[in-house]
Structure formats: structure tokens, C-alpha cells
């Protein structure tokens, strides 16, 4: 009894929306006196035209996957976790401590431990707002915003006062030991006979992120816990009726959310920088919100949205390299993509629905 066929819903509408975003973006590029065709060529070529480009695109996408999933899980329990940024920062701290202070024999063990450490730190950072929401009714939106700021201060303290190697200018930790360096996609794909650039930072964390997607999908749609999270998110009163404890679900959903955000550290801290720098998260926590919203909080949608944003980031970097277009152009394009695929979705959907209902009537 749907108004349109599923393919139109899933493929056609997003495509038209993206097209609209692209058209407006082109107008903006024209407006600042540059050639949009050339710009698009550069972006597509730079981000998708080589394994090198893909390596960067996927690297960024990995970050957004983790934070996007984090926001999604909280959304399913009807909580708006704006704190992904802070949770990811603390996750970075967790990963760094694990990598720096424990001698690891092999990267695989280190990855498991660092992912765990990052998840625990991220979850811990989400736990306080979650507890306050569950027990004291303090609005999670405010507390997570506040915890982002507090996280920045905590990280700053650790990096400037405790973890900075003596004599270094950089508020950053020392480099992680060789043993914990993660294999890049290049190393993973080479045995399969696939040539992938070894210059790009995409690494095994990408696979971890995909595993996280599958995990979240199973969790939310295939387990009792996910059932309870979704029930609670849809109706608190209903959850109470079904014997689902609001306090428990609030805590669990936020802990999972925080843990996912924290695990981003395996990619940016452990995989790319191989040390913890002050602004390692670079707003990925906030992009995660956009990614989750665009992906409709579904892991597959989140995956596609994360790739799209990865593309924009990498494509934007290429633009900045070879043209004089200010880097803010990419921010504008991002905004337009979010606007058209997310907020103005119905602008495309409503007329299409009418067309499909009319077509069906015509046939019937």
C-alpha cells in the first residue's frame, strides 16, 4: 500500500536531490568566478579517479561512519547525542594511552586493545550525560554540548601537561611505536592481487567501521536489546508497558553511542596520525550528525552518507590543491547536500508521489 515503488524511494529521490544540490553548488562556483565543470572534474577525479583518491575518501568516510553510527544508535532511543565530538576526543585519548604505554607484540592485538580502550573512554564520556538524563532529567542535548567543551579542555590538559614529549612544541603525544602501526588498505589488498595506493591513509579501521555497521544493524533490528531501544525511542509510555526500563535503555544506548564515537580513534589517531594531536577529531562528531540524519539512522544509509561526505572532503582537498577556490566552498556544498537530501526531501518526494499514484490509477 505504499505510494511509490521502493526503487523510487531509495534511488530516484536521493539522486534527484543530489542533482539539485549539484546545480546550486555549480551556481555558487560560478558566482565566485570559477568554472564549475572544471571543479567537478577535479573533485571526482581527485576523490574517485584513483586508488589514491579512494584511499583518502575512505579514510574520511571511516571517521564519519563511526560518528554517524554513534548518533544513529542514540537517535533510535530518541536521544540527540551532539556529544560525538567529545566522545571521539576521549576515545583518542584512550587509544593513545593503550598504544603508548603497553608494549604490543603485534598490531592486531594492539588494534583490539586500542579499539576497546577508545570505546571505553568514549562510552565513559557519554555515561555522565546519559546518567543525568536518565536519573535527573537533564536534557541530553545540553549536557552533551557541554561535554564537548569539557572534553577539549581535558584533552588539552593531557596533551600539554602530561603526554607531550619533552621539548616538543606540538601539543601532541609522541609517535606510537612501530609495532602498533596499522596496515593500510594497500597492505590488506596486496595479497589479493589488488593494487591500492600505499600513500593514502585508509587503513584496516575501514573494515572495522564496516563491521560496526553490521553490528549496529544486527543490534538495532535483530536483537531484543535493539527492539527495546527502538520501542523506547518510539514511545516511552509504551516501553514502560512492555516492561522496558527507561533508565536502563537510556544508559545502554548512550554507552553504545559513546563507544562507537570513541572507536573512531582507531582510524584517525592510530591509523592515520599514529599519535594523538589536539584537534584530531576535526569536527567529525558534528559531521556524524549530518551523516546519521541523511542516512535516516540506518547503517546502510549511514554508510552511503559517510562515503558521500568522504568524497566531499577529499574532492574538496583536491580543489584546494589545484585551484584558488577557498576551502569554504566545500562547506557550502556540504550544506547544500544536507539541505536537499535531508531537509528538502519532500520537495522532491511530494510531486513524485503524486505522479506515481496517478500512474497507478491510470493503470488500474
Amino acid at each position: 500500500m505504499d505510494k511509490m515503488p521502493k526503487w523510487a524511494d531509495v534511488v530516484l529521490i536521493p539522486l534527484i536531490s543530489l542533482l539539485l544540490a549539484a546545480i546550486i553548488s555549480a551556481l555558487v562556483i560560478l558566482g565566485i568566478g570559477e568554472d564549475p565543470v572544471e571543479a567537478v572534474k577535479l573533485m571526482v577525479d581527485g576523490a574517485l579517479g584513483s586508488t589514491y583518491g579512494w584511499g583518502y575518501t575512505l579514510y574520511y568516510a571511516t571517521n564519519f561512519l563511526f560518528t554517524g553510527l554513534a548518533v544513529s544508535v542514540a537517535f533510535h532511543a530518541r536521544m540527540f547525542n551532539i556529544g560525538g565530538e567529545g566522545q571521539a576526543m576521549l576515545g583518542g585519548l584512550g587509544a593513545a594511552l593503550v598504544c603508548l604505554f603497553i608494549p604490543w607484540p603485534h598490531w592486531s592485538l594492539a588494534l583490539i586493545a586500542a579499539a576497546t580502550g577508545a570505546a571505553i573512554f568514549g562510552a565513559a564520556w557519554a555515561a555522565i550525560p546519559a546518567y543525568l538524563q536518565a536519573k535527573r532529567g537533564s536534557h541530553i542535548v545540553i549536557t552533551t554540548i557541554m561535554f564537548n567543551f569539557i572534553a577539549a579542555a581535558v584533552l588539552n590538559y593531557f596533551l600539554v601537561n602530561l603526554l607531550r614529549p619533552a621539548g616538543s612544541m606540538d601539543p601532541a603525544t609522541a609517535r606510537f611505536p612501530e609495532a602498533v602501526h596499522l596496515p593500510k588498505l594497500h597492505d590488506i589488498l596486496a595479497p589479493l592481487g589488488i593494487e591500492f595506493s600505499n600513500r593514502a591513509p585508509a587503513n584496516i579501521s575501514f573494515l572495522l567501521a564496516i563491521a560496526a555497521c553490521i553490528f549496529v544493524w544486527l543490534l538495532i533490528w535483530r536483537t531484543k536489546l535493539g527492539f527495546e531501544i527502538r520501542s523506547f525511542g518510539k514511545s516511552e509510555q509504551g516501553a514502560l508497558y512492555a516492561g522496558i526500563s527507561p533508565v536502563k535503555i537510556t544508559m545502554i544506548a548512550m554507552l553504545i553511542s559513546g563507544a562507537l564515537a570513541g572507536m573512531m580513534a582507531t582510524n584517525n589517531v592510530m591509523g592515520e596520525a599514529e599519535r594523538l594531536v589536539l584537534n584530531s577529531t576535526e569536527g567529525a562528531g558534528f559531521i556524524g550528525i549530518a551523516v546519521a540524519l541523511m542516512g535516516r539512522s540506518h547503517p546502510f544509509g549511514v554508510f552511503l552518507a559517510a562515503i558521500l561526505f568522504g568524497f566531499l572532503y577529499q574532492g574538496g582537498a583536491e580543489l584546494a590543491l589545484w585551484t584558488k577556490i577557498p576551502r569554504e566552498l566545500i562547506v557550502v556544498i556540504q550544506a547544500l547536500v544536507i539541505l536537499f537530501t535531508g531537509a528538502l526531501d519532500n520537495m522532491v518526494r511530494m510531486p513524485l508521489e503524486k505522479i506515481f499514484v496517478a500512474l497507478r490509477k491510470g493503470k488500474a
Partner: protein
């Protein structure tokens, strides 16, 4: 074709990056040639930009900012024929020129001037993000203040602990007002875009301010006591001029070789009297000759005259 990479602050930060840009621009105007440039957007792009420029044959590649050290350490060996120049940090590789500045020396000089210009005996320092480099500025400044007036008081504030601290003029402005209410009548801003707010408020409130990195005296003529010049522009200009055949190695830009200094021009001529100028010039000469040593915060993470 040479290339210049700006740090995350962006090329028009009115101070550090902009100074680098000015140096490159000057070179371009004088030689009529062109150069490549990029403003970074993310940490991951550091290495990316270095490699991409190296791969298309840009040479030399100059990067403005200590944060590049790590990436350059990874990349330099892969492109032995490319010359790299890093500013504000030392990277030990055969094809790298490391340019560091003795900001504490320049800050010492403007600190002396601040103490002399101050009527209240209280002067202020407003830093951007709280990182060791900025503490280095603050510590040199405080030493200069103490040297000129041992009874003076230095109020030092940092704007924040996140990169946003480089771009919050409103907070810079409030910090200035807060320092004024504590008696400060000269403030030194080492805070990137935040400094714009500091200088503006100082001018509005009729106290003196001190600019940083570039010559900022012109921003509020007659209101900016001086600027601590960090001649990043010269470093970039020199690198571009030296070109592919440059000498690599460790390059300290201090008072001795004009790498740092204070700005004196028409805009602040009326503020700097002869006494002041001669005292500062004397100190400058002593520092240059090594007779006077200014403590460098980064050498031991502490400052003898200022508590962070």
C-alpha cells in the same frame, strides 16, 4: 615552481600565515613568477599536500607551522630531490631546511617597551590557544617587562584550549576589558584572529596594544605601541629565492639575524620615545651578541617570571 602550505588557521590570519603569504607574494612580484599554495582543512591533508606537491614537481615546498613536523618526517625521505622548508620546527633530514624563530627574544623587546609605556605598571598578555609556543611568547614578554620595570605586574591570559581560540575576537575583546579593569594599560596579543578583537578593544578603550607576527601597527594608527615582528615573510622569501639549490639544515632566526624584532613606522612613531627606543636597541644588541640570554619556555617547560 615553489609551493607554500598554510596551516589550519588559514592564509589571512593577519599574522603568522599571512606573513608567510606576504613573503611569497613579494617574491612573486619581484620575480614575476608564480607559486602553488594550499590552505589546509584537516590534519590528514598535511601529508597529502606534501606528497601531492612533491609529486607534481613543486620545489622547494615551504610549510608554515610546527604541526607539519610529523608529516614531513614521514615524507621527506621519499622525495630526496625535493627541498622542503619547515617553519617553527626542526626536522632532521638532508633535504629539509628548518627555520625556527626566537620569539622569546622579540617578545622580550616589546615587553620592555610595554613596561616603559605603561603608566599603571600593569601590562597584559593575551594568548590564543594554550600551547607551549604561545607560552614561549608570554614568557619572553614577561621577562622584558621585568627587565624594564622590576615592579611591574604582568597579567597573562589564554583565550582557550581549542583551535577556536584563534578565532574568537569577542572573547579577546572581553579579556582585554578584563585586563584593563585589573589595571593593564598595555596589552600584547599573540592570538591570531582573536588578536583583532584585542587590538580593537584596546584602541576603543584608549590603551596601547602590541601586535604580533606581521606589522600590525597600521590597524589602529597611534594606538598600537608596536608589533613583535616574526619575519616569516623573510624566511619564505629567502626559501623561494634560494630555490632548488638552497642550503638545508637548521636555521635560527633571532634578533641577531633580523628574524625577529619590533616594528617602528609612521603609525607608532609618536608612541615610541627616544629613551624607549635606545633602551630596546641596547637590549637587542646584547641579545644578538649573546651577552643577554632570554629564557626560552620551551627549553624546560617553565618560565622564571610567569606562572601558567
Amino acid at each position: 615552481e615553489p609551493a607554500l602550505i598554510f596551516d589550519l588557521g588559514g592564509k589571512f590570519d593577519k599574522s603568522f600565515n599571512e606573513a608567510a603569504f606576504n613573503g611569497a607574494q613579494r617574491w612573486a612580484e619581484e620575480t614575476g613568477e608564480t607559486f602553488r599554495e594550499i590552505e589546509l582543512q584537516s590534519e590528514a591533508q598535511r601529508e597529502q599536500a606534501l606528497r601531492r606537491f612533491a609529486e607534481v614537481g613543486a620545489n622547494p615546498i615551504v610549510m608554515a607551522g610546527f604541526a607539519f613536523a610529523d608529516a614531513l618526517g614521514q615524507v621527506a625521505a621519499d622525495y630526496p630531490d625535493t627541498k622542503f622548508v619547515i617553519i617553527d620546527m626542526v626536522v632532521d633530514a638532508p633535504n629539509v631546511r628548518s627555520v625556527v624563530f626566537n620569539e622569546h627574544e622579540g617578545s622580550y623587546l616589546v615587553g620592555m617597551m610595554a613596561a616603559q609605556a605603561s603608566k599603571s605598571g600593569t601590562v597584559g598578555f593575551i594568548g590564543g590557544m594554550d600551547i607551549p609556543l604561545i607560552r614561549k611568547f608570554a614568557c619572553g614578554y614577561a621577562q622584558g617587562v621585568m627587565a624594564a620595570n622590576p615592579d611591574a605586574k604582568v597579567i597573562a591570559n589564554m583565550t582557550g584550549t581549542t583551535p577556536a581560540a584563534w578565532n574568537d575576537p569577542v572573547k579577546g575583546s572581553e579579556l582585554t576589558k578584563a585586563q584593563i579593569s585589573q589595571g593593564a594599560d598595555v596589552v600584547y596579543a599573540a592570538a591570531g584572529g582573536t588578536g583583532v578583537g584585542v587590538l580593537q578593544t584596546a584602541a576603543d578603550e584608549n590603551i596601547l596594544s602590541i601586535g604580533v607576527d606581521s606589522n600590525q601597527n597600521h590597524l589602529h594608527p597611534g594606538k598600537v605601541l608596536t608589533s613583535m615582528m616574526k619575519r616569516v615573510d623573510n624566511a619564505v622569501f629567502a626559501a623561494f629565492t634560494d630555490g632548488v639549490d638552497m642550503e638545508t639544515g637548521f636555521n635560527v632566526m633571532g634578533l641577531a639575524n633580523g628574524g625577529v624584532g619590533y616594528a617602528l613606522d609612521d603609525n607608532n612613531a609618536s608612541l615610541v620615545n627616544a629613551d624607549m627606543q635606545s633602551a630596546v636597541d641596547t637590549a637587542s644588541a646584547k641579545i644578538a651578541s649573546g651577552e643577554l640570554a632570554v629564557h626560552d619556555y620551551m627549553s624546560d617547560d617553565s618560565c622564571p617570571v610567569l606562572n601558567f
